[in-house]
Each structure stands twice: as structure tokens, then as C-alpha cells.
């Protein structure tokens, strides 16, 4: 029943990174890719900084029709899916389509297209009743984002279970966790799983402005994302995507595939407390971590690296630090913890998958990526957050955690196959 599931392909698009190699170069060098928003004039907004991608759909190989049809978030996912498949070495046209599925995460899906279409249809908000004559033929695709995993399924010929997991900002972890469960249930042999979000659009910037969740370091965009630093004042909104190929260990071994890691444990819990607020005690995240470790049959001392949620809001950083101490005891202090959001920002539902990509590459390269912009830690954040500079060390087992609106707290354990020392 507990078949072992591994990841054999990675595709990633993140700020400052148009592929896996650039992504790892960025993270391992500790550079940041956040900047002043250029997609629209950010001056009326409280937070004017974001992690934008220089994404060119044409050079990604998308046709003019596909570009017209797909929301930007879908385009990101498609580009990542193509990379992940190539990286995995799978010949998709030789697979049994019935045994291939898709599990895509996204928090706000087609928010970019919705914002654009709304302005056109409503004459920039002058009317409540919108004009059907200006309606895009693709508006239904933006209304409900089932089309996003559908596009991926069509691309790889998947006819097994296909769905979107939309658990807010833990979607990227939960979509991968869901894929593992689908394979374990026997409903598929191969899953394309990951997440995408491209929320750098006025309505999303405005809704985080409204609750003061995002940073106001508008004059210092490259250093605006400061998880765990005493001076942090909110997260930096970003866009990105990461997709993976998941299959059973047996399937991967039989075809001689390169295995990045085994997904050995996954758990999610809800805090049932507040849609956006977090209690300081970290209780539910700690519970998720404990359950993920138990499923992975790992102990706290087995962890070589903890990829943090580390959003850079005060409440998150306190909550998460408490959760790590609560679940790992003294080992929380001895294990390197870092937040790549310091470099690539917070791409909402996508970031969990982007962080899984970072965790896989940490195992691949035996390097722990740093927390950039961390110069003086908040006194209440007293763990080893790997400030500024990446650290070489043996990395066999990684815990990656996420926390999101709606109260979701998720944890995933990845380890080098056979990597128990």
C-alpha cells in the first residue's frame, strides 16, 4: 500500500530564472530578483515591489493561438511542464494515457486575465452591468480555472485523474501531496504535478495592500524581502511556477531515470482560527510537520535542511519558528532553515512547488540556499536561518513547509533515495 513515489523531472520559472539552472544559480549565489513593479504603474499602491519574471511565451515555444488562449499562469505551467517532461526522459507518446494524470495547484489562477477583461467589459468600472459585446471568447476559461490543468493534460496526453488543488498559498505543496496520494491509490502511475500563479496585477496588489501584508520597502526593491530579519515589514508578491514528474520508485528504476528525491512524507492541517491570521504558538503547522515526518519514518535529527515558508511577515516568522521548535525540539536549533522568498518573493499558490524545486536542488547539489537580506534576526526568530550565504553540506533529507490564507498548514519530506546514512 505504501508504494514509494519519486520525482524524476523538474521545470521551474521564477523571478530571475527562466529555467532550472538559472534558478539554482540565483539561489546558490544568494542574489535577489525582486524589483519595482514594471507591469503597470505601481505608484498608487502601498506596496510597489514584486518578484516579476521576464517570461516570453513565444521563446517558450507557445504558438500565437496558445498565447491568446492561455492566461499567463497557464503559460507558466505549460513551460514548466515541458521542461519537467524533457528532464524526466519520459517519452509521453509511449505512455498509457489512462495511467497518467495531472495535479495542478494555484491560489488565484487567472487573476491577470480577470483583471484585464474586467476593465474592458466595465469601461474601467464605470458600469456594474458589463457589456457582453466586448466579451473575450476565452472569458469562461478565466472565470473557472479548470482549463489550467486541462491544458497540461492535453499537452502530455493524460487521460487519468486530472484536477486543480486550490488551497491558497499551500497549493504548491498540496498539489504534489495530492499527486502522491493518487499514485498510492492506484489511480495513476505517473503524475505531472506542481503549481503556478501570476498574481502581479492591480487587484491582487490592492487586496494585499488593504491588509498591509506586503512590504513597503519601495525605495529598496532588491532588499525588500527580509524573512526573519528584525526590519522585515511584509512579503514581496511574486509570480512563478514549478512542475514535476512523479512516478513510483519501481517505474523510475526500471526505466533507468535520474531520481531527484523520494516524496516520503506529506501532511496538511488547518488552524481553524482565522482566514489570514496565525496564532503565535504554531500548533497546527507543528502537527503537520510531525505527521509528515511520521509518514516518512524520519526523526527530527534526520533533517539536513528545512525549507521555510518564511514569508517575511512578522506573524508568519514567529508562527513558523514556534512550529519548528514545537515539532522538532532542540533539533530545530541544529538544522539549517532558510527562506528562498528572500530572493524570489512569494508567488502565492506556486511558491510551495518552487520551494520543492529548491529543496530537490539542495539535495542534488548538497548545498543549502541562504536567506538573503537577513542581517539582524528578530530576537524571537532564533534558529539558524543561513543568512546571506549558501552553505555546503550533505543534504539527504529536506522538510519543506507552507502556510496560507484559509488556515492551511502543510509539510512535505523529500529525501535522497536510499539516502539514509
Amino acid at each position: 500500500m505504501s508504494s514509494r513515489i519519486v520525482i524524476t523531472g523538474i521545470g521551474v520559472r521564477a523571478p530571475g530564472a527562466s529555467g532550472t539552472k538559472e534558478f539554482w544559480d540565483l539561489l546558490s549565489s544568494g542574489r535577489t530578483a525582486t524589483r519595482r513593479i514594471s507591469f503597470f504603474d505601481p505608484s498608487p499602491y502601498r506596496s510597489q515591489v514584486a518578484g516579476e519574471c521576464d517570461f516570453d511565451p513565444e521563446s517558450e515555444g507557445l504558438s500565437a493561438r496558445e498565447i491568446r488562449r492561455m492566461d499567463r499562469a497557464t503559460q507558466f505551467a505549460v513551460a514548466c511542464a515541458d521542461d519537467a517532461i524533457v528532464d524526466s526522459g519520459l517519452e509521453v507518446n509511449r505512455l498509457d494515457p489512462h495511467r497518467v494524470g495531472v495535479s495542478l495547484g494555484s491560489a488565484v489562477a487567472a487573476s491577470t486575465s480577470l483583471d484585464v477583461e474586467y476593465q474592458i467589459l466595465s469601461d474601467a468600472g464605470r458600469r456594474w452591468t458589463v457589456s457582453p459585446e466586448y466579451l473575450s471568447p476565452h472569458m469562461f476559461d478565466y472565470l473557472t480555472p479548470g482549463v489550467m490543468p486541462a491544458e497540461l493534460a492535453w499537452r502530455i496526453g493524460a487521460e487519468g485523474p486530472v484536477t486543480m488543488v486550490s488551497n491558497g498559498c499551500t497549493s504548491g505543496l498540496d498539489a504534489v501531496g495530492n499527486a502522491v496520494q493518487v499514485i498510492r491509490d492506484g489511480a495513476a502511475d505517473i503524475m505531472l504535478a506542481g503549481a503556478t500563479d501570476t498574481p502581479i496585477t492591480p487587484i491582487v496588489v490592492a487586496c494585499f495592500d488593504a491588509i498591509k501584508a506586503t512590504t513597503t520597502y519601495n525605495n529598496d526593491p532588491e532588499h525588500a524581502s527580509r524573512p526573519f530579519d528584525a526590519s522585515r515589514n511584509g512579503f514581496v508578491l511574486a509570480e512563478g511556477s514549478a512542475m514535476f514528474v512523479l512516478e513510483t520508485l519501481e517505474h523510475a528504476t526500471n526505466r533507468g531515470a535520474h531520481i531527484y528525491a523520494e516524496v516520503s512524507g506529506y501532511a496538511t492541517r488547518s488552524n481553524a482560527y482565522h482566514m489570514t491570521g496565525l496564532k503565535k504558538d504554531g500548533r497546527e503547522m507543528a502537527e503537520a510537520i510531525g505527521a509528515a515526518l511520521a509518514e516518512a519514518r524520519k526523526n527530527p535529527e534526520d533533517l539536513d535542511y528545512i525549507n521555510a515558508h518564511g514569508s517575511g511577515t512578522k506573524q508568519n516568522d514567529w508562527h513558523e519558528t514556534a512550529a519548528l521548535k514545537r515539532s522538532l525540539g532542540l533539533h530545530a536549533y541544529e538544522t539549517p532553515v532558510s527562506s528562498i522568498k528572500s530572493m524570489v518573493g512569494h508567488s502565492l499558490g506556486a511558491i510551495g512547488s518552487v520551494e520543492i524545486a529548491a529543496s530537490l536542488l539542495a539535495i542534488e547539489n548538497n548545498v543549502v540556499p541562504p536567506t538573503a537580506n537577513l542581517h539582524e534576526a528578530d530576537p524571537e526568530c532564533d534558529l539558524d536561518y543561513v543568512p546571506v550565504t549558501a552553505r555546503e553540506r550533505r543534504v539527504d533529507t529536506v522538510l519543506s513547509v507552507g502556510s496560507g490564507f484559509g488556515g492551511f498548514q502543510s509539510a512535505i519530506v523529500l529525501n535522497r533515495p536510499g539516502g539514509t546514512r
Binding site: 491560489a107 487521460e159 486550490s166 496520494q181 490592492a206 495592500d209 481553524a272 489570514t276 496560507g404 490564507f405
Partner: protein, 401 residues
């Protein structure tokens, strides 16, 4: 193997608020479809929808929560309350991590977001509500239900257009199998604001006249709003707490996806049906009724009819689509059909499909029409298909001794 059973139902449907009102309307053939009242539909090609007209938000939602929630979330919270009351579950008497929430949502808080976008573009970003960040996204109903009832177990929100609601119930069963005692599940949707309406019309399948699934004159579907929330429990756990009522068990589930448009490969609905039956350990002859997806589009209706006759033989099983009375409810559609299937088991009656005058002979299906058909129902198959190719199938069974 654990058995996942349904112990509580909560319904918000255009033709009935609450389970018994909905069921009576369904058996009486009373629809909930009419000219849209929430805005003037004159500029739009289609003007009829399944609106929920008798839901007074202030009766069900606290003054504090009203400004934080879209109408769809208010429906979901009320339906979850009713389902828990129906199941006689007191969440405070359960372990918090032993209760989960798995819902499906196709639109998020769409009308809410329409209002906030309007403020953004007509007045400026500082006018956007502090609640927009969490009233809009697709996880809103899962999050709000978990908070209201202190449910901290593994929870999810799934999106797959009309198929998503059955996927949620399938995932709820998986969650039960993983050891959680109780899952609140189902789906609710609404997008009956002018923009949401226009966006629904852009999908190209909405009828300007009537929803007549499997009829020779099928011209598309009428959209509706609402859905259903269910309490699903592990049977032994439910019995331990002394539940008096078990509507039925979720015995089979499968989901498949159609080949890409233009492919010569066969559509995948038949395979979803076969996988779900195999999962339930049933042969086609054991199924007493099929609650069809009933797209109301002649090509899609024919496809579904062909899948059914391939599995069950020509006119081999009674088929019905009570959703002709409510319109298609997106994520709410599958769960509402599951409610109808459970009540068919309870009352030994199959509701009829309204609005059908003539079924094309080549469909070869036994569509229940006119009057409800009174017969024992032990196993019901519920189907839902989502735009772009989603297929989901669930088998609901009477609980054996």
C-alpha cells in the same frame, strides 16, 4: 477496508432550501428556474437562471461575517451547518484533527470580487475591501467551514468545473481511508452578478430558452447557483458516537480525462463509469439508477448516452437528471445529485427528468420522465463532467446489514 458513509445533508438549491424542500420539489417536478432578478438581464442573450431566491443571509450568517463573504460562501456555511445538524454532530465533541473539510469551488467569491474590482478601477486601490484577499479565492469555503466548526484535519479545495464536486466527495472518502473520522464535503457555486453571468455565457453552452437534457431539441443548459454539503464519516466511528442515521455509503469513485480536442481516441466517460463500478465491486446489472451529467447539448448528451449503453446495454438502467429543475450548479451539481441519489435509496423512488419531450431513438437510454418511478434503489451511479474533459463517477450504495 474502512467504509465511508454519509450521515448528514445540507442543501441550498434553486428549487428548495434545505434537504426536504429540495427533495419534495424534485419529486413534484417543481423547478427553480426563472428570469434573473438580481440584475436586469436585458442586454444578455440568455436571461433565465436557477436563482436561490428564499435565502436570507442575515438569518444564517453573523453580522460580523456578512461583509467578509460572497453569497456562495454564505450558502456553503449554511449548508454545512444544516448537514452537521442533520448528522447530529457536535464538532466540539470531536478531536479537532479528526475532522476535515474538502470542498470544490469553480468560481470563488465572484460577485464579491466583481464589486471590489469595480471599486479598484472606479475609485482607486485604497477602496478595495480588507476582506477581498480571502473572500475571492477558491479555498474560501473550505477555510470558512473549518474555522466555523474548529476542524483542523487535512483539508482541501478542488477545482474541476462541474466535475469538481464529485472529486471533492471522492477525496473525502480518501481522507476517511487515511484515518480521519469525519469530513465535511461537497460544493457550492454562484456567479449571478452581471460579469459572472456574461462570463458564463461566454462558455458557449448556455441556453437562451430551456434546459432540456437528452431531448431532441436540447439547446444547452441553464446555469444555476447553490449546491450541497455532506457529512461523511467512517462507519465504525459514526456508530461509536451513536449516530441514528446513515443515508448510504460511498462505495466507488473514479475520475478520468478526455483526450485532447481533435484526438481520434475515445472519450473517457465510459472508463470513469467502469472504474467506479470496479472500485465498488459491482457489476452493471447491480446498479439501479444513474444520475446523469446531462449536459443538455446534443453532442455531449449523445456521448453520455453511448457511454451508458456501452456499459449497461441499450436502455439497460434507469437514467435521470433532476438538475433539469435547478440548472447546472458547477461544483454544486455533483454533490446535489449525490443527495438526490441518497434520498432515492431512502425513499425507494427515482425522480423524473423534467423538460424532456422526445429522446432521440439512437440514445437508447431509459430516461425516467413524467412521474417519479417507485422502485427499490440499492446502488446509484452519479456522473459529472466538467468543461474541457473532466469526468467523475461516484457509486452510492445502501448500507447492507
Amino acid at each position: 477496508m474502512t467504509t465511508a458513509v454519509v450521515t448528514g445533508l445540507g442543501v441550498v438549491a434553486p428549487n428548495g432550501l434545505g434537504t426536504e424542500d429540495f427533495w419534495k420539489a424534485t419529486l413534484d417536478g417543481r423547478d427553480g428556474i426563472g428570469q434573473i432578478t438580481r440584475f436586469d438581464p436585458a442586454p444578455y442573450a440568455a436571461k433565465r437562471a436557477g436563482e436561490v431566491l428564499d435565502f436570507d443571509s442575515s438569518e444564517h450568517i453573523s453580522v460580523r461575517l456578512l461583509p467578509q463573504t460572497d453569497i456562495s460562501t454564505r450558502f456553503a456555511l449554511a449548508a454545512a451547518d444544516w448537514a452537521l445538524v442533520d448528522a447530529e454532530v457536535k464538532p466540539s465533541a470531536h478531536i479537532d484533527y479528526d475532522m476535515s473539510v474538502v470542498t470544490s469551488n469553480a468560481f470563488g467569491g465572484f460577485e464579491f470580487t466583481h464589486r471590489e474590482l469595480r471599486k479598484l478601477w472606479s475609485k482607486g486601490p485604497e477602496h478595495v475591501s480588507v476582506y477581498e484577499s480571502f473572500a475571492w479565492f477558491y479555498a474560501v469555503n473550505t477555510g470558512q467551514i473549518s474555522i466555523r466548526h474548529g476542524m483542523r484535519g487535512p483539508s482541501k479545495a478542488l477545482v474541476a468545473e462541474q466535475a469538481g464536486g464529485l472529486d471533492a466527495i471522492g477525496h473525502a472518502r480518501r481522507t476517511i481511508r487515511q484515518g480521519v473520522g469525519l469530513v465535511v464535503t461537497g460544493g457550492v457555486d454562484s456567479a449571478l452578478d452581471p460579469w459572472g453571468w456574461a462570463a458564463q455565457l461566454s462558455g458557449g453552452r448556455v441556453s437562451a430558452t430551456a434546459y432540456q437534457p437528452f431531448d431532441v431539441n436540447a439547446s444547452g443548459y441553464i446555469p444555476g447557483e447553490g449546491g450541497a454539503i455532506l457529512v461523511v464519516e467512517e462507519l465504525a466511528a459514526a456508530r461509536r458516537r451513536g449516530t441514528g442515521q446513515v443515508y448510504g455509503a460511498i462505495t466507488g469513485y473514479a475520475s478520468t480525462f478526455d483526450p485532447a480536442p481533435g484526438s481520434s481516441r475515445p472519450p473517457a466517460l465510459r472508463r470513469a463509469i467502469e472504474l467506479a463500478l470496479a472500485d465498488a465491486g459491482l457489476t452493471p446489472t447491480q446498479v439501479d439508477v444513474v444520475f446523469a451529467d446531462a449536459a443538455g447539448d446534443s453532442a455531449l448528451d449523445l456521448q453520455e448516452a453511448e457511454a451508458l449503453s456501452a456499459v449497461f446495454g441499450p436502455s439497460g438502467v434507469p437514467v435521470t437528471a433532476p438538475k433539469a429543475l435547478t440548472g447546472r450548479l458547477y461544483s454544486g451539481g455533483g454533490p446535489l445529485d449525490v443527495v438526490a441519489a441518497l434520498l432515492s435509496i431512502r425513499d425507494s423512488v427515482i425522480p423524473a427528468t423534467a423538460n424532456v419531450d422526445e429522446v432521440p431513438a439512437d440514445y437508447r437510454i431509459d430516461l425516467v420522465r413524467g412521474e417519479p418511478r417507485y422502485q427499490t434503489v440499492s446502488h446509484a451511479l452519479v456522473l459529472a463532467r466538467g468543461k474541457w474533459g473532466f469526468n467523475a463517477a461516484i457509486v452510492i450504495s445502501a448500507l447492507g446489514d
